[in-house]
Symmetry: C2
Subunit: 301 residues, 2 copies
């Protein structure tokens, strides 16, 4: 969950290539540094949740999933997340955290692991933030066959889309907008009516997506991409929090270099809960990730 | 995963009401007896996986999820599954099993728990079959607001749909077809081409759904309903196994009495993996459950 109403960086230009400064490489970028984990003991990792991926007073759920995903990539015998299911328990805060992993099963094609992220209460005790079960494999080892009826989302060209930096004036926001500086978003104007007080009511959000420092996408950053657009609830005319209860991501293909397209949709808001379905497409027109989350609507105070 | 090519029972008639025999009640039906769990110790439950919910040589994954769901409903302070994420580790067999649960967090609106189902190896050691994280709540406590753009699937009336018992002659099947006797399925003929050797290639499956003994749906039986139709892979022209890697179900509303409609769709088959999205609608035209699974295609031998 995040929103994009403030100034953002622009490593990608409207043509989709990076601007002036050298492009950050996978493994040596802000995203990599902020999701780094240090093995304390077998299966146990220390990390520092960065304030750079916060919005209002929350740490972005996709960023948190990428941190957990990196720990599991180290702990499990397979390198790539194929399916990751996360249940969000309590609100994470920037600062130190520990991830405890458990290898559930190591198979030939897939291995399955569990991971929990904990932070520390004032008395030093551990408070669990997120619990994850994930199955990992090797995307590079999959056969090339594709039989898909899925089509890329209809997003206008980048120069006809709008990012936070295109807003006529920055809307004053209560709290952090740090994540906006780390993402490169160019939103489909058809899904931006809410920013002008005229939400479409359709529950859709579509955007070009990249990291502000130009780092290309990889399977780990896809875990961020599925949960980094403004919430579809805005397009439904709701304001306030939309905290994630559960988020499952399927990574289907290793993404090609270049900007991604992310489309999110909510069909059913009922009883204060809604689903948010995301799909992520790469520059080679391949469906690289799918996700669904169950979220709660919490009215603005 | 299942298939429906053999004789099935018909507690529902084509008009959607139960036939001759008395309708089984929730709590006193085949489904309830076969998903019963007995508390051995706090959070630990014994159960007996029934051979009645097998297809070929596999125990149906939705049935297994319902067994786990019943254990968690007892272990957690809230009664209803809201979101259940299951990773399938090894193939379950009919016979004794033990479910070990852990209450992760008990909140006001939601509580989160974990559960694993184990069976016994020849030396008596426990082999884990499925691991689940789930968040439970109280569907009856949700407000009535609904803002949905979702529409019920276009399934023809029941008397224009076809179940296993309508097949001109039973296709010989290698292995168990027991589950077909416990379900009441009436499939949309547009998604039945595969049974006549002419799959549509669309990756869709739609059916009226009920339990053969006429028991009405409840949140637990929805966990079965999302994974009880023939696999969409058949409609894509594939044969063989489509074992589930991961299955997440969102229960959105308590279902009204009467037959359900289940629609399943696969958009992307790539690298030997496919997603299967299901939605379940009740007789009051409400979207009562959504699910997505990641499955593998395993060629027929």
């Amino acid at each position: 969950m995040t929103q994009g109403t403030t100034q953002g960086a622009t490593a990608y230009t409207t043509s989709g290539t990076t601007s002036g400064a050298a492009q950050a490489a996978i493994g040596d970028s802000e995203f990599d540094r902020d999701t780094a984990v240090v093995r304390r003991a077998p299966g146990v990792y220390d990390t520092e949740l960065s304030a750079g991926w916060t919005i209002i007073n929350a740490v972005n759920g996709g960023y948190l999933l990428a941190v957990l995903g990196r720990a599991l990539a180290d702990a499990l015998p397979h390198p790539d997340p194929f399916t990751v299911s996360a249940h969000y328990l309590t609100a994470s805060q920037p600062g130190p955290a520990v991830i405890r992993t458990d290898t559930v099963r190591a198979g030939r094609t897939l291995s399955t692991g569990q991971a929990s992220l904990f932070q520390y209460a004032e008395d030093g005790s551990e408070v669990e933030r997120i619990r994850v079960i994930a199955s990992y494999g090797d995307l590079g080892a999959l056969p090339d066959d594709v039989r898909t009826s899925a089509e890329p989302p209809a997003i206008p060209p980048i120069d006809q889309c709008f990012g936070p930096q295109d807003a006529p004036e920055a809307t004053p926001v209560q709290g952090s907008t740090a994540i906006a500086d780390r993402l490169w978003l160019k939103l489909d104007p058809d899904t931006l009516g809410w920013a002008l007080g005229a939400p479409s009511g359709k529950g859709e959000m579509r955007s070009w997506f990249g990291l502000a420092d130009g780092r290309d996408a990889d399977p780990l950053s896809l875990l961020l991409a599925v949960d980094a657009l403004p919430p579809t609830a805005f397009d439904l005319g709701l304001s306030g929090w939309v905290p994630t209860v559960e988020l499952t991501v399927h990574v289907r293909c290793r993404p090609a270099p270049g900007p991604l397209r992310v489309a999110i949709r909510t069909r059913n808001l009922a009883g204060g809960f809604l689903e948010e379905d995301a799909e992520v497409w790469d520059s080679a027109d391949r469906l690289v990730a799918q996700s669904r989350q169950l979220a709660r609507t919490v009215l603005a105070r």
